[in-house]
Amino acid sequence: MMTTSPRLTTTLTFVVLAIALVPVPVLIWTSVFGQTYLTVPPESYSLEWYLNLDRQRQLFDGLLLSLGLAVVAAVISTCIGTATAIAIRKSAIKKNAAGLESLMTLPLTIPTIVSSMALFITMTSLGRMLNMPITGTFGLLLAAHVVVTLPWTFRIMSAGAHGLNMDIERASLDLGYSRAATFFKVTLPSLRSSLGAAGILAFIVSFADLEMSLFLVAPGSTTLPVAMVQYAETRVDPALSAFAVVQLLIVMLLIVVANSVLGFSKKFAGGIKG
């Protein structure tokens, strides 16, 4: 075995981080350029792109749709992921647990664009058969986003549920609480850091999703990433950068808020000592 020196590891970490993060300052920089074309150095600086976000109708509507879609998809996906994870943790089907867990994460192995196309073709035929619109509806888009985020929420909730001491539910029962009360007072709160993590991750995956939405958005009502691609087909200008920065800020804000509200603090992460 080759041993790695700590210094090498640290250096490598910084190199990787730099590659990943350097484009971000460039993006922020270009978003305050004063002209509509990207030349370096810029002729002037301006905040007009931020002040006039809503003037880019298609991008702005996309932003609103993406926000709403991500919130609803994250909530639904976290609920389903939690229910499944707890069911597998507690149930008599324990010996099949590993199989069920891989089944839940199977969608990850299919390229999202393939799933999206398959869903589009299937639902178009189904819609024709039933003589009702399915593709192009918000419902299908939402369902698709739940599908795409579910492996993530399930994975996180599953890890959380595995760390849960199931005796705490029994303790609550014998102290006089019903099963339902026990679930809401003990089981869910004990999983709250996992719930927070799952919800945030689902939001981010949905909010940034391009491939799943590509086939499923209705004409004239697209999500932000799809709108950005369509916009970039004709021009790349500071307005696009400004939207990208807004997208970035929303995700960062969410993480910061979740960190303080849900309190992923040391005392909580410590759990119960054996």
């Binding site: 609550s172 005392k267 909580f268 119960i272």
Partner: protein, 362 residues
Amino acid sequence: MSDSAQGLRVESLSKSFGSNRILENISFDLPKGSLLSLLGPSGCGKSTTLNILAGFMSSDSGRILLGDTDIIPLPPNKRDLSLVFQNYALFPHMTVKKNVLYGLKPRRVPLDAAAKRYRTVMDLLNIAHLEDRHPGQLSGGQQQRVALARAIVVEPSLLLLDEPLSNLDAALRREVRTHIRSLQQELSQTAVFVTHDQEEALSISDVIAVLNQGHVEQIGSPEQLWREPETVFVARFMGVENILPIADVGSIAISGSLEAITSRSATGDEQFVGFRPIHAELAEHEEFAPSDERIAINVDVSARSYLGRSVEYVCSPNQLAGQEMKVEVPADRDRGFVRGDQAVLVVHRSNVRLLLAEPVRS
């Protein structure tokens, strides 16, 4: 039964998983305010019994009377009992205070009464200073006391303790054990305590039920079980380490009459005799004087361990291959036998106990 009307009465609990009989006719009576230990090795059914008492598992037949009501049909949250778990099972997202107060709300204890009970229990267990901490910030011993507080503050008709000391280190275990016992007596709390540790059961209980392979092997006070174990299994658990078939002893004894012992038998079904290492002694051949009172066997000394207060010998009877016997001699009376020495193992017949191979089933 008026004397146990407020206590616990378990009648012929049975439970099978498929063809596997886990519990067979478990019955016992526990008067109000006393503590019963379910003692036995892992797999003997003591945890299953506890789970059935708590309502986490169903039984195939039998009744559990708590006071006058059969609690078998009731779900766990409607049985007036609380459990102290082996791993404490404290709610990790609540402070100590919220953990302890948790059970008072569904029992509709008025706020001022609840506050008073809370104070009393926190002081009794000496954990008042920890009330704002989370379980993750407590040591094992502190968590254990919080778990105990949470269980007794609701003043249950029955307190269940599932090996509550097994996660503590040896020194702390004794301390907490004494504490649990004095608390239980002070509050006159009816309790069932599950353990695999003989010493723990002896020190803490009013009644001990020894469980073996799903049935009650023997039930009685700690003194009764210690002095009068009835079966080979109970005797082993109670430190009667030397157990031999009666016929073997009869054929190899060089002194002593077995008839005086076997005549004590009530049933005549006993097939084994047993005695404790501390009741035996080792003597030189030359100085040993045979008598009816003293059973003696020729042995080879195979090991000697100095234990401070006493010396423990392992020896094997000359004529019984593979059989090992232990003798524990007070250090001041030790004769200093060494490995390979020939000696005579002597035990007074009043210290020899007749044992059944299996308990008599009714």
